[in-house]
């Protein structure tokens, strides 16, 4: 029976940069375990004779010709940025947490 531990859920939260409260961890633990059990059931049915699929849609990717189209202007590209400097997006300090 698949079980997500509280530590695993906290770890996933860290990876996704989401701070989780104890209550949220408890709720997610229940929900994720239901999902994991469902997947386990599917795996029981999928025997050697069933090829693995990555996508349920039986389509192949459309490959577009290598032709340029009008890009966004710099102003348009930066329009939603909280802060800009010299035509670039400003990101807060990257190192410093450690």
């Amino acid at each position: 029976m698949p079980t997500f531990t509280r530590e695993e859920i906290e770890h996933l939260g860290d990876l996704a940069r989401i701070a989780l409260t104890d209550d949220e961890i408890t709720r997610l633990q229940g929900e994720l375990n239901v999902i994991a059990e469902s997947i386990a059931k599917v795996q029981e049915v999928a025997g050697e004779d069933v090829p693995p699929t990555a996508n349920p849609v039986p389509l192949e990717a459309y490959l577009r010709p290598d032709v340029a189209e009008r890009p966004l202007t710099q102003e348009e590209a930066l329009a939603a940025a909280p802060a800009t400097e010299s035509g670039m997006f400003v990101a807060p300090r990257i190192l410093g947490e450690e």
Binding site: H11, D14, L15, R17, A54, N55, V57, L59, E60, A61, Y62, L63, R64, P65, D66, V67, A68, E69, P71, L72, T73, Q74, A77, L78, E85, S86, G87, M88, F89, V90, A91, P92, R93, I94, L95
Partner: protein, 500 residues
Amino acid sequence: MADKLMKYADAVSKFDPVFGLEVHVELSTNTKLFCPAHIEFGGEPNSQLTPVSLGLPGSLPVVNKTAIDYAVKLGLALHCEIAEWSQFARKNYFYPDMPRDYQISQYDKPLNGNGYLDVELDDGEIFRVQIERAHVEDDAGKNTHVGGADGRIEGADHSLCDYNRAGVPLVEIVTKPVEGAGERAPEIAGAYVRAIRDIVKALNISHARMEQGNMRADVNVSLRRNEGDPLGTRSETKNVNTFKGIEKTMAYEIRRQAAILDAGGEILQETRHWDESSQSTAGGRVKSDADDYRYFPDPDLVMVHVTSDHIEELAKQMPEMPRERRARLKSEWGFSDLEMRDAVNADALDLIEATVQAGAKASGARKWWMGELSREANARDLTLAELPITPEDVAQVEALIAKGSLNDKLAKQTVSGVLAGEGTPEEVVSKHGYQVVSDDGALLAAIDEAFAANPDIVEKLKAGNMKPMGAIIGSVMKATHGQADAKAVRSIVSEKIASL
């Protein structure tokens, strides 16, 4: 803190180095991998973007067909198995160089797998490097760190993001662990990356300019006591972007790790950086959950299908590969190993070939490009190809020499004129009136003058002492402003002496 290093020779006698390389090659398509934004080096920041390259909500990636074709060609050149069905996956990480917060790469179904590349070393030995995969992914943007020292990320106050490069198609070529290289590991690594550079240039699928970041390599190195032992813990030095840097990184890591292991220490599995100014690698972050990328198939992209017919079609378009081409040219031109290697290292093969195609002899073409013109290029800090002289010009100079219109000295002056922008060799020749004087009348007059001015030498010559002949020829050359044919002068002087 400076690392303790073991002498290289000791390190490789005590330990067996094993390495792996991840080479990133930017493809020279017009547009990005997943959107039709035009790609141009050095444009205004954030001027080559679409909603897709910015990862704006609701935007959807569409695969560039040319990028896939280029990647298949590279896979064929690396003797890979080309997957008819391959798949893009999301590699999740948080870093401001990628606005989407994930890179679109390939994971368990790469386009190219299981290949190899035979690398020719300086002494002609061939070393086979096995290739694990060559998959397609998109590049990240560029960050500039502000407020710290020397633009370093450490101590920076904030960073500026330019996403022009975000979404440029890359092929990442991953080797299998390279074993059995021994002390030649750094040399093999350098030669391997050079060979890849030559291949992508021959295929015309990348600008392949290391200094512009079109190619860069991650260098993984580990040591073990004996060949055949299980692999040791490796360090991973990221984004090395010069050939020399790749070789030096590997030699440095072998020396550093050997000193640690020899003292009974353990190697940390970590990412490091090559620092050109201190000629050393510096530790970065220790590998941990930061590398928990949680790959999964990108739900926005269905599988890429490359039919076997299409692969065959691309295989037919493959040009001759650099190693085969070199072997062919070497034998056609009759160059020695050394002459060939020098020409390769000087990036002169294309120029010599074009000069030969324009009618010159290979030996003559080599003499100009590897001699006078190499010196000029060095002095001007240019590559040979950047010099303002074409292979056709060089062939024309050679033709004028062959016709007897120019001697060596005049030929050099003609080439100087071409380099100075005075026109084609023929134009330079006619502008300055360069012409070997072979008109006997003019020559005879100059010789008579020289005889009259040097009666003592004439006596010696008459007596059969031919040593001072040079002085007569010298004064004739001077009188004709270097335009006389020295051979013709010598034979006329000899005849005249004999008849006196």
